[in-house]
Every structure is written in structure tokens, then in C-alpha cells.
Subunit: 324 residues, 4 copies
């Protein structure tokens, strides 16, 4: 295992086809703060954020995941990670300070399931707006919480993140008559339910980014606001409580179909004897503790992801068979 | 028009097949207070209620609506109503004081669409538990708010309640290319959005009873509570905001399928120049302001209603054709 | 008793010394909607309101209450009231349509305790913004709820409103060893806890206007917003639950010291057998159900009121002695 | 600095004079779960907790702080701490597994300011009740959050926790004309605002334990519940938002005067470039962002603390002079 100290999921960069439409959704709709923009990118942060961005919108021909990024505790952790990527034969490249605006040097790699993942330590400071309540608008996004990824081989993905990257597991879902197959896992570095969710499906595909909202009432207010400015059809999955994670949520989609979860309510997971919570795929309270099912689009649609060097979209392949 | 002064929808009596199961749902689930019970009936009230009951559960062979009841301002109003029913040739009968437990004399009639409707003035006092917060459990139902009825001829039903019974209209829905047909109407005596909703459909069928909850967060807490004691499959329609009425809601069904709306958030409707709000049936924000559709069961299932004299279930007939 | 049908407290007109400062407080702070303004007045409404104003700010040399206004059900009710005022020998004057901008003809009188009170029926329509959630800002005031008046002779004031004006009493407070003296009363025409609160004190003085807010969380959000734009010292009495009325509240003061209550959570009061709730002045849960006392300024400070004809401020006199 | 990995503040043990009264307050009032009890102790946990206790009530002659306890990541961390305590010449003693019921071996020490502090790694598992919502009562305490300690020499205390124990600082308050004196500091190991607050005052005295509540509305519900079962006079400081920490709070006191903060709403503090937020003691929004002051009792009263070996109460001394 690398002993690099990964702090948390820090930001996500998505490719969008129309920067103005995307800006309207994330700034006027979700209430995110625009730190800076250039011709091809908009850099957004949440109300709690003391750094340059937790979401980057990049102009592209078609929507996809550009990359997700974890922050590490010190610059040397990046060298430790490079060593691991070389050992494991994984594609990676270094980014100079400023190549991603506002960010120090970074290492970007393709994880074993094909996801573009970046690690960095330094980022420009930006003013946290925690107590400037008069600037809290729309969904009042506080900060990023997690990334949700569809992987074709969850056993391999799970081992990579647990054994090589030092993640811990808070909850997981099994399938099969006796629960003999892993179906999904909620993994974390920061002591919440997750920084990263892995779900067995055709992949690599990016399912959603979760942002932290203060409480359930604020999520309901967000729905009212979004609906009132015309985004009612973008509210894909009605507010509810997840069985897994116990979080209260709503799912909304941006004009390109990128999915955002407005998320609140999980718990502390960092005690040394934490026992991961086990769910069976067939548990009727797993997806929604209140019993309703997600809509078809939520279950079936997700974003392709980009290769970190070529920029091509990674081929999407069926999940590997449930093994005996 | 009768000048009887109808105060508000006051209670609903539903027929249930298993009193114990129903008690568990309404008392342990919804948190209603049991004022009294006898062999065949359970009398429940909300936390605000200063009277004997706002919901009666009556043991029966099959589930149906026994009757809904309006409270009038004075006992003489009942005589005025009798006069109207005689003039209109509608079936009715008098109930002696105590025939419905805790209630004074009452007049029960079949309305022109076939609904069993009771009027009364006096009811035994019962302690309001408004500030006994330690007794507030489950859904924390405060009081009854409205009844929702499926009627086969909404034009006639609308005229009856507006012209003969003195109801006012807060909102309505039209259908047809130019909105030329009435499809639904929200009618009130108390100055809220409604005491009675009428919807054009196969009828007479009873769709749901709405109970007032303090706020949206309490409705979410109710879902958590209901789901945690096994009623997750009873949460039929996920929490959301209605376009019509602007209320925040969730719909739950009891073990017999009787539907309850936990409802909060409407507005004052009694100004003399109130202009009813008009919706078109095709407006995507009408049913749910946030854009999602009710599930099939919510759109299609409803309860038969009882004849006030024979106790037989009223025949359910298709809605009358949209007239030119 | 006059049989004029008073619907509800409809608006309040206060005199302020600086229109711009007052506008900032009520529009940027409380989130009220400016319908119109002229050189000397700003006309504001709440988000639910379908009429021209529920609060008027009028420029004046010193702050005071200009008048409070009730809406009646029909124009003829105004003539009935005139008859009563003549019989009772109370000063009054008629206002032509438009003399108060947006309003039909009105009758303005000095009540027996010296308060300037207006009655009217017609007012210009204005768009309700109930579902334009993107315009909901600050305290998100929905509508006016009640007026709170300090009267020197509460026995007389109570009789006037109950016996002559047809108000009903929802709750009241008594003082004295055996509760033999009336100390305060909550009176209503609309079926909530009150349109008008009367409290025994040096008078006539105007204590506060209550505005309806959706729920307790929204009141907390209002505090955050107000504090963040510099009005932290204007939050006079911390959020809490009243014993009397059971409402959740916070009290804020505008730049001239006019007091606003952000208020939510009362109950239905219009059943024919409603029993007024009795509190004793010494009950530690009366003022705040949670036990804390209002600050000194809240207990001692209130606004003088204007004479309806001379515009002079009414003399403030000590309360009449507790009678045996 | 010790490189022992302290996870978080894990539990607090307070001495109470009447176990039954204390049980009623914490179980019936705050809704904590009783895991176990013996003749002299009651072991309580929050709804999220997967371990035996986060609060221990111990019978004693007079109320005081028995000890606070931090959990470490591994058993070896305890040996590292022992080494440090020896080097620093601080009094400590080992507890055998089970000496504190449900807990593995532990080391208990007197910190340089005189506070009794315990460190341990292992504790018996207990069922988390996160989704057993039907067991969520009263204040619905989820878990412990922080301890607030009054220290006579904050400079020394700050250096001990930052330099020797590896805490980080999220916010701090300075005093003096140019802010030249440290007055308070919020220190953390888990990535929230704090595990430990230090405030300059007569000490050592224990000010309060903070427990995490889901959201502000739940804190208001807690006040209603507490007030309704007779604890209205125990609500010492009304709900509000702290400037420092930005948390929403209410303070309640148990029958012995032990103070509990019901707390929600802080933010992530573990980014490597976090800049501690600086407040000046004179900032009117520091204590309450909304501008109101804490009551006198809150500012002046706090609990004595016990010596870890003798059990005697530590002498309380005036704070050291503001140094030049």
C-alpha cells in the first residue's frame, strides 16, 4: 500500500457542451460561487470552500468526466503516489503548477477501472463565504462530498482503493442468494460515509458528484428554487433518504445530463473498530429507506470518462460476470 | 343557496377490515391520539384537536369511505341544511346525539355525486395536546385539513358545492385544447386552499384525507419513522411540492389501502377579491411543482363509498364525457 | 354589536424617519416586495399577497404608528361600521378611493384606547409570488399576521373588540393572586390565534407587527441573513417558542425601532366551542415556553400612535389600576 | 510531539449527585440510549454510536468532571502517550481493561492545566441506532462532538495541545487593543471545528460537553420536548448561531448544573492549508452571530474537575494575567 496521505475528494472536472448554460445551472441554480473563468473553463467553489475550486466546467464537444481529484496532505505524498503508479504500471502524467488553474503541481492517472484521477496538494486560497449568508443562494452548496463511479469489475476496484490507496469501507452491498458477490462499496478517506462510491455496472462511467448541503430543509428549498427558474425537469429523483449512508438526497441533472446529488446527513466513520454496514441488493430499503425506487434514467444513464493523456473517451464495457 | 354556516371539514370515518392493524398504523405510525374506542370503532384526534375525533376507524367487511363530516357554526344550521336537502330531493337521515360517539345530533346525506356527507355542530371536548410535546410521535398530525373526492361529473359537483353549499374556489384545473373543460377544483370554507378537492374521474371514489403537519421537516421525519417501523412500502408517493395548492406533501397508505396525505404549507384564501388560480392539466408543474409524476397506483386507485342508509357501496361509474 | 364582517388584519402603516434606511431593512433584510413608492411612502407586500400592500412606510419627523387596517368582506360593511362609530361617539373620517394608494374608500377611526384603525374592502390586485421562489429572499415574509397593542385599560379594550367588533378570543393572560385581573388577550377574526393582541401597559403604544413565515427553519435563516448584512444588533429577542399562541418567533427592530415579529406555527381557532386558553402572568412558560425572559427593551419600549385627524401623537398614560 | 494518533474526543464522564434524576434528564430529556448501568454508573450513547458509551454518569457527593476521554487509532498509541507523559512529568495512571466498563486498557492523566484526560483504543461494540428512527426521542443526540474547558493559562494549554498532542486550530479569539493576547482556541483532531475548546478563565473548570444534533430544526424540537417535560428552566441559553464555529446551538443544564450544548452545523477543517479564523473578543457577532449575549450564568458558572488519582477536586485559580 502507498502510505500517501490522501485527505479527501477535493474537486471534479466535467466536460460540458455549452459553458453559459452550465454556468447558469451551477451558479444561478445550485448557488455555487464562480471564483474565476477563462475561455474554456469555469472554476466554481462551495460556500465553505477556502480554495479556488471544487468543480470545474470545461468546454468540450460532448459531455464526459474530465477527471476527479483528491487532495493529499503534503507535496511529498505525490511522489509516493508516482512510485505506486509506476509499480502498478498505470498510465499517469504530471501537471505543472498552474496547468490546472489555481492548483499546484499534480499527478493525474488512469485508475485500474479506467477513471481519470488526479492528486494534488496545493491550491490557491479563496475566501470562504460561510457567514456571508446574503450570498447563499439556490441550493446553497457548502462543499463537495463524494464521487460515484460505475465500475465493471468491482472486486478489482475495491481492492485497489482499499489495499493500495488506503481507503476504508463504511458500507457495502452484496448480491447473490447468499450475498456472495460484492455489488457496491462506499469508501472514504475523510471520516464520513464516503469520498468514493463504487457500483458494479457497465463502465467506466461516472454516475454523479455529491455536494454537501446543510440539512434536509435546505435541499427542499433547493428544489423549489430550481423548479421556479425552469429546472423542474432536471430534478431526476425526488428527495428521499438513502438506506445506504442514511443520507437525505435529491438528484438533479445539468443541461448536459451531468448528475449532481444534493446530500446531507451522514455520520462519523473513523473509529478504529468501525464495522462496515452490509446491505443486500434485494433489500427494499437499500436504495430509498422509504421504499420508492429510483427512476429508470437514474439507474441506467451515466457519463463516459476521458483518458488522461489522449482525451479520448474510454470504451464502456459490460460488467464482469458474477463470479462463482 | 343554503345560508348554513359551514365552518370546515371536521372529520372522516373510514371502514377498515382489521381494527388492530389500522390502530397500529394511525397511532404508532402517524402519531394520532386515541380518544376512545369501542368494539367496532376507534376514535382518533390530532395533536391540536380540542374535540373527540377527526378520524374514525370502523370495522367492516371491506374497506370503504363511511362518511366525511363538516362542522357547522350552530345547531340551527343543521335545520337549514335539511331544508335544502329536501328541496333538492337528496337522501338524508338524522342521527341522534351520541349515535356517532362523542357527537351531537347530526344530519347525514348523500351528495349529488354519491358521497356520504355528514353535518353536525356539537362534539365532546377532548384535551388539545398542542404543548404536550412529549406526546408528539410519529407523523405528529396536528389536525384534519381536507378530503379529496373523485367525481364523475365535476361540473355538477362544482355547482353543488359553490352554489348550494357556499364553498369558495381557491384553485382549479382545466383540460382541453383551450382549457374549456373543468378537470379539478379546490374548494374551501375555512380560509385555506381547501376543505374539499374534486377531481374528475370514475366515481364516486374517495381518494385521500389530508392531515395538517407543522412543516416540511416534520413530514420528512414522519417518513423516517414510518419506514423504520415497517411501513416503507406504504409510502406511496415521495415527498414533494404540489403545483396546485403549493403544499408540501407525502402520501401514505394504511394497511387497507386508505390514503393519507401529510400536508403543510398553504396560504390564506378568504380575501373578498381572491382570484382562483388556474392550472392546465398539461402543465408539467401542476401535480408536482418539481416535475415528477405521481405513481400509477396514486393515479388509479381510490376507495368506494358507502350509502348513508343501506350501507351498500355506491356503484362506480365512468366520468361523464367531456362536453362541448 | 356591529354585524360588519371583518375578514382580517390586512396592513399596517408606520411612520419612519428615513425612507431609504427603512426600505433597506424591509426589502433587503426582510425580503418584502416593493409594489410601488412615491415621494413619501413605500408600499410593500409579502410573498403570498395578492394585493397592493400589507405594510406602508411613511416619511415623518419621528417614528410612530400611522394606523393599522382591517379588511372587511364587502363595501357595505364600511357603512355599518360608520353607524357604530357614530353611536359610540368615536372620532372617524372617510378616505376617498386612492387617498391611500391602491386602496378603495376607507373609514379610519380612533378606537376607544386611542389606536388609529382603518377599515376598507377594495385594494388593487398585485401578483402573488408564492411560487416564484427565486424572488424569495431574506426573511421570506409571506403575509401579515397580527398587530400587538399596549392598552391602558384592557377591560374596556377587550369589551370593545369582543362585544362591538365581533372578535373572538383564543387565549388570554390573567394576573392577581387568583387570576382575577385580565392582563392580555389574543383576539381574532381570521381563524388563527390572533389578528390583534392587547396587553395591559402604558398606552396607547404599538408594540409590534407580526408577519407570517413558513416555518421555524426559515426564521433561523432570516436571522443568519439579517446578521450577515449588518442587522445583528436589530435582533432584539432571540428565537423561541411562545407559551401563549404556541408560535415560534424572533423579534427584530427596524432602524427607527419599529418592532417586527417573524412568526409561525399557530392553530385553527374557529370551532364554535373553542375554549380560550388561560395563562397566568406568573407562569414561567407563558412568555417563552422554553423558559427564557424577553430582554428589557422588549418589555419596555413601544411606539407612540398618531391621531387619525390631527396627526399628533396620542398622549401615553399609565395603565389603569388593577381593579378590585 | 507525540506521534500518537488521536482520533477524536470520544466520551465524557461526569459526577452527578442523583443518578435517577440524571438518568431522567439524559434519557427522557435528551434521548440518549442507556447501554448499561451498575450501582454507581450509567453508561449512555448517542444514536449514531457503535460503542458502549459517549457519556458516563457517576454517582458522587458533589457534581464535577470525572474525566474526558480521547480515542486513539491503535493500542500502541497509548504507550507512545505514556512516554510523553513521563517526559513531561505529568501525573498519570493505567486502567486495566474493564476498569471503566466496556473499555479496553486506558491511560488517564492530568493535563498541564489540571484537567483529567483519558486515552484508550478499544471499547465494546454496541448497536448503532441510526436508522431505528422509532427509538429517536427527545433531543435525538447523535454523538459527542466536543469538550469545552476553562483554563487559567491558555498560552500553555494551547501549546500543549498543538505542539505535544498534535491538535490543529480551526478558530481562535484574541483580546487586547491590537489582539495581542490569545483568549480562546478551537482545537481539533477529527476534521470538524473542534474536539476541544480552550477558554481563558478561572480554572481548571469544565464548561460544557457538545453533542451533535442533525440539524437546527431538531434542536428546536428538543427545546419543545425538554420544556414540555418540565426542563424549561434548564434551557440556559436560547438557540442561536455562534460566530465562532458557525454552529447552531442551544445550551441546557442537567439537574446538577452540568452543561450540555446541542450543536450542529460546522465545516470541514482538515485541508493542509486551512487558515484558522481569527476573532476579536470585542466582536459583537463572536459569541452569537445574531448579536445577543449569553446569560450571566453561562458566562460565569462551570464545573470543578477531579484529580485522576486522589479524586479530589482541583483547586480553581484565577487566570494568569494578560502578559505583555
Amino acid at each position: 500500500m502507498s502510505d500517501a496521505n490522501i485527505i479527501r475528494l477535493h474537486h471534479v472536472n466535467i466536460n460540458v457542451t455549452d459553458l453559459e448554460k452550465a454556468r447558469h445551472f451551477y451558479v444561478e441554480g445550485l448557488g455555487m460561487i464562480e471564483t474565476e473563468a477563462d475561455e474554456n473553463n469555469i472554476y466554481l467553489r462551495g460556500l465553505d470552500d477556502g480554495n479556488h475550486h471544487c468543480l470545474v466546467l470545461t468546454k468540450a464537444e460532448r459531455p464526459s468526466l474530465n477527471h476527479i481529484a483528491y487532495r493529499v496532505a503534503s507535496d511529498e505524498d505525490l511522489d509516493k503516489l508516482e512510485k505506486l503508479f509506476i509499480e502498478e504500471g498505470l498510465p499517469f502524467r504530471w501537471l505543472e503548477k498552474g496547468e490546472e488553474r489555481g492548483q499546484g503541481r499534480a499527478i493525474r492517472m488512469q485508475d485500474p477501472q479506467g477513471f481519470p484521477v488526479e492528486f494534488f496538494c496545493e491550491m490557491d486560497w479563496a475566501e470562504p463565504l460561510i457567514q456571508k449568508y446574503y450570498l447563499h443562494r439556490g441550493a446553497r452548496v457548502k462543499r463537495i462530498d463524494h464521487a460515484n463511479c460505475l465500475v465493471r469489475d468491482i472486486d478489482l476496484a475495491y481492492r485497489w482503493y482499499m489495499e493500495k490507496m488506503g481507503f476504508m469501507c463504511s458500507e457495502y452491498t452484496v448480491a447473490g442468494e447468499n450475498g456472495e458477490y460484492l455489488w457496491a462499496a462506499w469508501l472514504h478517506r475523510k471520516p464520513t460515509v464516503h469520498d468514493l462510491a463504487l457500483i458494479r455496472d457497465a463502465g467506466p462511467r461516472y454516475h454523479h458528484t455529491g455536494f454537501w448541503i446543510d440539512d434536509a430543509k435546505t435541499i427542499l428549498d433547493a428544489c423549489d428554487h430550481l423548479a421556479s427558474i425552469g429546472y423542474y425537469a432536471n430534478i431526476e429523483r425526488a428527495p428521499g433518504r438513502h438506506g445506504t449512508s442514511n443520507a437525505f438526497f435529491v438528484y438533479v441533472r445539468d443541461p448536459d445530463g451531468h448528475r449532481t446529488e444534493l446530500y446531507t446527513g451522514d455520520y462519523f466513520t473513523n473509529d478504529p473498530d468501525w464495522k462496515p454496514i452490509r446491505w443486500h441488493l434485494n433489500d427494499p430499503q437499500r436504495a430509498t429507506f422509504w421504499g420508492t425506487l429510483p427512476p429508470k434514467s437514474w439507474r441506467e444513464e451515466a457519463m463516459p470518462v476521458q483518458h488522461i493523456i489522449t482525451g479520448q473517451l474510454m470504451e464502456i464495457r459490460k460488467p464482469v460476470g458474477i463470479k462463482k
